[in-house]
């Protein structure tokens, strides 16, 4: 019953992926850690440029548009807008490469 070729539901039935619909507490903790890491990088770059008295467009846009980890709602940290879902929300872990992309904003009202 064990081994690489054992019969299991995903192997016998083709496409059956078991991705849990919600994140675990540990996954959420790591998500917050990653968000803070990005905030830290932006803060370091901002401080370095500010001491030289220069700035750059991408940094300014990020600062005006993006909330920091502390300002974000839990809803936006762990879920993402999806028009096909009944509640218009799905777990952020359904987003491809979700641990290495920034996904902080969602449509207003959703």
């Amino acid at each position: 019953m064990l081994g690489p070729f054992r019969a299991s539901a995903p192997r016998l039935g083709g496409l059956l992926w078991k991705i849990p619909w919600r994140l675990s507490a540990m996954q959420k903790a790591r998500q917050r850690k990653r968000l803070r890491a990005v905030d830290h990088v932006v803060a370091v770059v901002d401080k370095a440029l500010a001491t030289k008295g220069i700035t750059t467009k991408s940094l300014e846009r990020w600062k005006t548009e993006m909330p920091t980890e502390q300002e974000m709602l839990p809803k936006d940290k762990y879920t993402i807008f999806d028009r096909k879902e009944k509640t218009y929300r799905k777990g952020i872990h359904k987003l491809p490469k979700w641990t290495r992309v920034s996904q902080r904003l969602n449509p207003p009202g959703f």
């Binding site: 990088v41 700035t55 940094l59 490469k97 920034s102």
Partner: protein
Amino acid sequence: MTFFRITLVRSAIGLPRKTRDVLKALGIRKRMGTVYHPVSADVAGQIMKIKELVAVSEVEKALTKQEEKAKRTPDAGYYIETRAGEQRELY
């Protein structure tokens, strides 16, 4: 003159070509690879492109590759009093 110390912490495998090209342009070859770049608007823009993948700090001095290596190499735990060649001359 200050520098950005940029270390690749997350791999760019599977990410868009543009993202990987930014890493290439910065001269970062592999994960945990470190490069130094002077603080400027264009380098800042490049860092903003890959901010999810890197750890960045601002430093006064850019270290060479050898100095980076020396920094993370632990102490050998011994020192050489005399070399074998010098000993042989005494006989």
